[in-house]
Symmetry: C2
Subunit: 416 residues, 2 copies
């Protein structure tokens, strides 16, 4: 069964709004074993809407259309659907009741333009909208079953789950396919090298498809599988995941697609350990990532974002001699920063960054992209210097922060 998705609206066509609906619909259809072949977006222009619906009607078995069901004159989905299917637009009493009940529920008067929302293609099936004024509808165009849903994401989501997915699954009967995806989070390998390491997975495991996704500075290795037998599929994907993880080695941050900061959180919780940070060049990014994880207050105590040398001395007790002798960007300074943060916050571990994110501040010795990372634990403390050649401030902040978390991650694993 082949599915397509059509997102309508001038705001999407012109880029004023990023279309997140199509991705959502795809994900839900794929999760339910329905293969999505193509997404299309067009604007609020009747001839193009009609021709696009006809094209999809010739190609797909199932299509989900979002947008264009509202009360205004640029809402053209019902008219376009009727034209493409060669049926009349008729006034639908069930749909009008849907619109009216919404206004009753919210105790608001219905406007005249809302009546337009009940003018639908003859012979369509109404899809009740529990959370908005726009009723959806299902209609056959060509050889394809179309589902027309509102463009407002939470209305669309409710109706996709409530009407579309159950309806489509009921068609499939015995031929239903299951889809799964396994995501491995990695850090420290460029995309090309990660791809090379796991390239053989498709031939080693029949039916498994490989995809790589760069979410700088992490690379996600994705394994996609489809099968009629859900149990067999899970087993095969599990085995393929182990195979790939083995080849990616120490670069694997999570075998379940978790972020670095979530993995760090779990490792700290397992040890009942706490963490304090001292950030110079990462400017709060490290703390921000870690505190994006719900419940992080259980292990994250403090970050001293010490941009000035004075703050490094005053808050973190970095020695003036160290700063004088080595400067702010140095292994020893980083080590003292980590130790200082650990001591100030009475934390199990301290982690620090001091580097040159750019665009200015680089020297021959310490060019933009240089970072020193400090670690302090109960047993030992050290500083380490790294260099990244990206040359962009925001990328440098990200890779500095991720490199620091990766050093901490490896310490937490070794220490286990």
């Amino acid at each position: 069964m082949k599915a397509e998705i059509l997102a309508t609206g001038d705001e999407i066509r012109t880029g004023a709004l990023v279309d997140s609906n199509s991705g959502y619909v795809s994900e839900k259809l794929e999760e339910n074993g329905i293969e999505v072949v193509r997404h299309t977006s067009v604007g609020d222009y009747l001839p193009i809407l009609v021709s696009t619906l006809r094209e999809i009607g010739d190609r797909a078995d199932v299509a989900v259309v979002t947008g264009g069901l509202g009360p205004t004159t640029d809402d053209l989905s019902a008219e376009a659907a009727a034209k493409a299917a060669g049926v009349a637009l008729v006034f639908n009493e069930t749909a009008l009741e849907n619109v009216k009940s919404f206004f009753r529920k919210f105790n608001r008067p219905m406007t005249a333009s809302n009546r337009k929302q009940a003018l639908l293609p003859d012979g369509c099936k109404i899809l009740y909208n529990p959370v908005g004024t726009a009723p959806g509808f299902a209609l056959d165009i060509g050889q394809c079953r179309f589902y027309f849903l509102p463009g407002v994401p939470y209305e669309m989501k409710r109706m996709l789950a409530g009407h579309v997915i159950p309806d489509v699954l009921s068609f499939q009967g015995d031929t239903a396919m299951h889809s799964r995806v396994k995501t491995i989070t990695t850090f420290g390998l460029p995309e090309s090298l990660a791809g090379e390491k796991v390239a053989g997975v498709e031939s080693a495991f029949s039916g498994i498809k490989l995809g790589l996704r760069a979410n700088f500075p992490q690379i996600q290795v994705k394994l996609y599988g489809r099968d009629k037998d859900a149990v067999l599929l899970d087993q095969r994907l599990e085995a393929a995941g182990r195979w790939a993880s083995e080849r990616l080695g120490k670069h694997v941050v999570s075998e379940n697609g978790e972020t670095m900061e979530a993995v760090i959180g779990k490792l700290l919780l397992e040890k009942s350990a706490t963490l304090a940070l001292a950030e110079s060049c990462t400017g709060g990014l490290l703390a921000n990532w870690l505190t994006n994880v719900a419940g992080s207050s259980d292990y994250f105590l403090f970050s001293g974002v010490t941009y000035s040398n004075q703050a490094k001395m005053d808050v973190l007790a970095v020695k003036p001699e160290t700063l004088e002798k080595h400067g702010a960007v140095h292994e020893e300074t980083a080590r003292e920063m980590a130790a200082g943060a650990r001591r100030v916050a009475d934390a199990t571990f301290g982690l620090s960054t001091s580097g040159i994110a750019g665009p200015d501040g680089g020297t021959e010795d310490k060019p933009v992209g240089t970072v020193c990372i400090g670690f302090a634990g109960p047993g030992r403390s050290f500083g380490r210097r790294l260099y990244f050649p990206f040359g962009k401030r925001l990328m440098n902040k990200k890779i500095f922060a991720m490199a620091a978390l990766d050093i901490l991650r490896k310490e937490l694993l070794t220490d286990a």
Copy 2:
């Protein structure tokens, strides 16, 4: 001139990744007076790639394709383009030089699979990629000029601006229209209300189109204009911008589309003032935003990300009595945090946040979404309590941080 956009990749087709590239490309093409008619997304499957390229080649004058230029086996754009155009894939020396120079710059060995990135359709024009390994290329398929760009957003953006837009504009010649967009950054109004306030701009200024873009928690009001006469267009857009800014009043953060953090930076520099932060619930996000601005070390000194109460007392000298009496989320605690950060870092201004980002930690008195913001300056200090009903941790962190910066911004403006 009609343009289309094609986004390729299984991660987009399956919904694992939301395609933000197409919206970006649309926006830039439309800003430059090129009408975008349709977006399409398909997966990494050669027959469908080829047929989609041919279809677009029959319909459009210009097309931008993103993705599929990487080194791995699921990167099929060059092969699909060659097939659709009916030309051979050949080894391109210029492209190979592009790939090699990238690896030289980063001082890394080039892998064998990267050589594949120089295997391109015969007769194509190479588009140099200054920031990645994947060279882009331009090729005619059917009656349409295609531009193939990498899917990595920052690479794509650089190449769109550097190659595609200038190239397309040069085709237009005498019929060239000038397009301009004026962006007003606002904070504190929901999108619908911002839209209502400026809805009259299209009728008050002929030829000006209004667009709103939510970049949570900021709303950008965009005014688009197109005209053959660039001078007249600039004047009209300037006047429309003033008209809109007047109606948006104190919610205008920047009349030139600048971010809040850039505006804050400029205001501090103008006053030769410095800033220190104390962050609890925003967890480093405030510092991270501020330090994303190049040169921020001239005014940003320190942020104490004090998640634990102990750190609030030890680092910021918040009084134990205050914490005992009022708790961490309180106007007085926030005020003491701001004053403490200001004092510790010897800064002109101090700004703080303490609140409940969720999902846990809410009470009846202080539900999730409550934040107290503290301000301390040379003349005065205060704490203020706000509540936001979004209920999501990451949204709360963002709106808390932005609300704090907006309070600082207003203080800096009043103080002028």
